[in-house]
């Protein structure tokens, strides 16, 4: 082929060969080279047989899952994990439509969603929390809040910073006589879900007029897009208050408030206080193949006076997979096996990468529950995790 090509150039220069002949020759040679390249690439990669695991869903755990994918690829070079952070809602939809092999969501499937995606398993993979951030000139981090006061502020019932209810919690701080500017997330998000879940548990007025959802009809305040939008609005507006993902607050050194838990302590958001919260909730976790719609760390803590050290606005982030992987189209046994091995790894060794990325490692109680769940996964009736 190469010789043909060079002689044809020679011919062209030497004998003034018709240019029109050259064009088809060049085209044929180019196609041949590309074809050879593709063929060579395929034959090179066949011995290792790359397995691709496709997932999609929540954006909150994306940095962690991305890290897991990279680290796991180092251990098993033939396994490639692709995760698209399209949001929990999108993840649940793709899981229901069986277009991904695993999904991730910040909220468990509702009863309806669970019914639509029969035999789904919930595997909590990490834990997140919501920090209350504010901008009150002269007041550093550590202002104290209770759930009742937060609900009243976000309902607009406490309009000023020096309101007696807030002053009572912070006797040593001189609060200014200024209007509170409320900032909330404008985009649908798991963060909003956790926060409104908490406020719904605390306040009946919140529960009946605003409710809990990824987006709600906010009674007061302005909406910022994403954590950065909320943080931007809070930092630019003196006397404002907002809520952001803990990771974002931590990485950007935002001031945050302490929140009163059901044991009566004022707790700072931290990996430790989230982990404690999760381990108290883990006592009542359902089996992996049952409905998790009622699972909420927030709900389980709200009346638990024993939950010392636990931060009340905390939540799991979940992997969603099918119990019988053969229900997925284009699933074969090798891929199913790779998926199960990957999941097992994430809930064990994978957890070691959490703290560096400011994610909460799973407490032992949750891991034990997850192990049982991963053991349930099968392909054509055959259990995949052995030992």
């Amino acid at each position: 082929m190469y010789i043909d090509f060079s002689t044809s150039i020679y011919l062209k220069e030497g004998e003034k060969m018709n240019r029109k002949i050259l064009i088809p020759i060049v085209a044929i040679v180019a196609i041949a080279i590309i074809a050879m390249g593709v063929f060579a690439y395929q034959s090179l990669s066949t011995p290792t047989q790359t397995i691709t695991l496709n997932g999609a869903g929540a954006s909150f755990p994306f940095p962690l899952i991305d890290k897991w994918a990279a680290e796991y690829h180092k251990i098993k070079s033939n396994i490639q994990v692709n995760y698209q952070s399209i949001g929990s809602g999108g993840g649940i939809r793709q899981h229901t439509e069986k277009t991904v092999q695993f999904a991730a969501s910040d909220a468990p499937l509702t009863e309806q969603q669970f019914a639509n995606a029969t035999n789904s398993l919930h595997i909590p993979m990490t834990i997140g929390g919501v920090a209350i951030t504010y901008n009150v000139p002269g007041i550093p981090t550590g202002l104290k809040f209770s759930g009742e006061v937060l609900a009243e502020i976000f309902l607009g019932n406490i309009p000023k910073w020096n309101d007696p209810k807030l002053a009572e919690l912070n006797p040593s701080v001189t609060l200014p006589d200024q209007n509170i500017v409320v900032v909330h997330r404008s985009d649908g998000s798991g963060t909003t879900y956790i926060f409104t879940n908490y406020l719904s548990d605390i306040s009946t007025q919140w529960k009946t007029t605003v409710g809990k959802s990824t987006s709600v009809n906010w009674p007061v305040g302005i909406g910022g897009k994403g954590n950065e939008g909320v943080a931007g609005a809070v930092s630019q507006n003196p006397y404002s208050i907002g809520y952001v993902e803990f990771i974002y607050a931590k990485k950007n050194n935002l001031p945050w408030g302490f929140v009163k838990n059901s044991a009566g302590e004022y707790v700072e958001p931290s990996l430790d206080s989230f982990s404690k919260a999760a381990s108290f909730a883990a006592v009542t976790l359902p089996r992996g193949d049952q409905s998790w719609s009622a699972v909420s760390i927030v709900d389980s803590l709200v009346n638990n006076a024993q939950a010392t050290g636990a931060y009340p606005i905390t939540s799991f982030s979940y992997f969603l997979v099918y119990k019988e992987l053969n229900v997925l189209p284009n699933m074969n046994k090798d891929t199913a096996q790779a998926l199960v091995d990957f999941l097992w790894w994430t809930i064990h060794d994978g957890q070691n990468y959490s703290a560096d990325l400011v994610y909460v490692p799973l407490p032992q109680e949750v891991r034990t529950n997850n192990e049982a769940t991963v053991r349930m996964i099968s392909f054509n009736g055959e259990q995949l995790y052995k030992s």
């Binding site: 018709n18 240019r19 029109k20 002949i21 064009i23 088809p24 020759i25 399209i86 949001g87 929990s88 809602g89 999108g90 649940i92 909220a107 509702t110 309806q112 969603q113 209007n179 500017v181 404008s186 985009d187 649908g188 998000s189 798991g190 409104t196 009946t208 007029t209 605003v210 409710g211 809990k212 959802s213 990824t214 987006s215 709600v216 009809n217 906010w218 305040g221 302005i222 909406g223 910022g224 897009k225 950065e228 939008g229 931007g232 609005a233 630019q236 507006n237």
Partner: protein
């Protein structure tokens, strides 16, 4: 290499007696090509296919949007366009009127600020500026068009909002706070900020198209004006009225961008769902912003359907604006022709 026209007469001259397989092959191909190129039929067919694909794409879009928003259309009917409540959590009621008003208002502010500036740029470039300066300006203006909208949004959040808040809005509120339009509270982000960001975003389009419209005005017009002793401003006025249709077209293009702009607006408007804002400084919401904000986490079918219906409504609003603008253009065209006839 010669361009493609080689296929024509030239090849006839140089074609040798076919001796090899490749020669045979290429002659056959060129014969086939020639057959198709007869009367440019192939080219005509090709352009027709490409042009009609617009109808197909638009048709499919309307069809798909309508199908997907069925649930919401059946549930709310006309209530969707006059409703003022957007509550995905408890009552699951969706009404889009505040969004429609927000979209129209921010676009109007954008035009109010952006169009005079753009026409000024266009006039300066086509009438007054030295060539090299004009080149530099139009290069920079076109660069503005290449900036992604999320960058405008971030710049809005971190630079424009603090600046406007401290240097413009707070003084304005202090001086004219008694007028409802300028009353507080001042957040920084809000209706006016969104309008300003949009104005900056439409300037490249409007100024570039209007410059072209001004340049297309025949020089005889200018010469006639000058010979009558007109000042530069009077000449410019004539140029503007001559190029009226082009300018209207430019404004429509700008308006189209303002109505549909999503990312930058949602980042600076404050995203507050309310029928009317308290003042120019208050937060509001637009149609495209709510879709961008809530679509990814819309968790149930009716919710998704309502968001898609917002998209459908946005589509029709854009359509109505375009039709109205077309009517204006036609009317002014007829006016011009009428004058010419007289």
């Amino acid at each position: 290499m010669k361009p493609l026209e080689v296929e024509g007469k030239q090849s006839m001259k140089t074609t040798r007696k076919p001796s090899t397989f490749i020669d045979n092959f290429s002659v056959r191909i060129s014969k086939i090509l020639k057959k198709f190129s007869k009367g440019d039929n192939l080219f005509k067919l090709l352009t027709a296919v490409v042009a009609s694909s617009i109808f197909i794409i638009l048709g499919l879009m309307v069809y798909e949007l309508t199908i997907q928003s069925q649930l919401s259309i059946q549930r709310f009917g006309i209530e969707f366009f006059v409703g003022t409540k957007w509550d995905p959590a408890i009552s699951q009621v969706f009404g889009a009127l505040p969004l429609i008003l927000g979209t129209l208002a921010t676009s109007a502010i954008a035009l109010l600020i952006g169009v005079p500036v753009s026409l000024g740029i266009g006039l300066a470039l086509s009438e007054f500026s030295p060539k090299r300066f004009g080149f530099a300006v139009s290069f920079l203006v076109e660069l503005l068009a290449a900036i992604p909208s999320v960058i405008y949004g971030l710049w809005g959040i971190f630079t424009l909002i603090p600046f406007l808040r401290n240097n413009v809005y707070l003084p304005l509120e202090a001086m004219f706070g008694f007028i409802p339009l300028f009353s507080g509270p001042v957040y920084g982000g809000g209706v006016l900020t969104a309008g300003i960001v949009l104005a900056i975003m439409i300037i490249p389009t409007v100024s570039a198209v209007s410059r072209d419209a001004f340049s297309a005005v025949p020089d005889t017009q200018r010469e006639a004006m000058i010979s009558l002793g007109a000042t530069k401003w009077e000449t410019a006025k004539t140029v503007m009225s001559y190029a009226r249709t082009g300018v209207i077209g430019a404004i429509i293009l700008g308006l189209g961008r303002a109505v549909g702009e999503t990312m930058a607006v949602t980042m600076v408007i404050g995203n507050k769902f309310q029928l009317l804002p308290a003042s120019l400084f208050d937060a509001w919401y637009t149609m495209s912003a709510i879709i961008a904000n809530e679509f990814t986490e819309a968790t149930y079918d009716l919710y998704v359907s309502a968001l898609i219906e917002v998209g459908l409504a946005l589509f029709f609003i854009a359509l109505i604006i375009n039709i109205l603008a077309r009517l204006v253009v036609w009317r002014s065209l007829r006016l011009v022709r009428g004058i010419a006839r007289e």
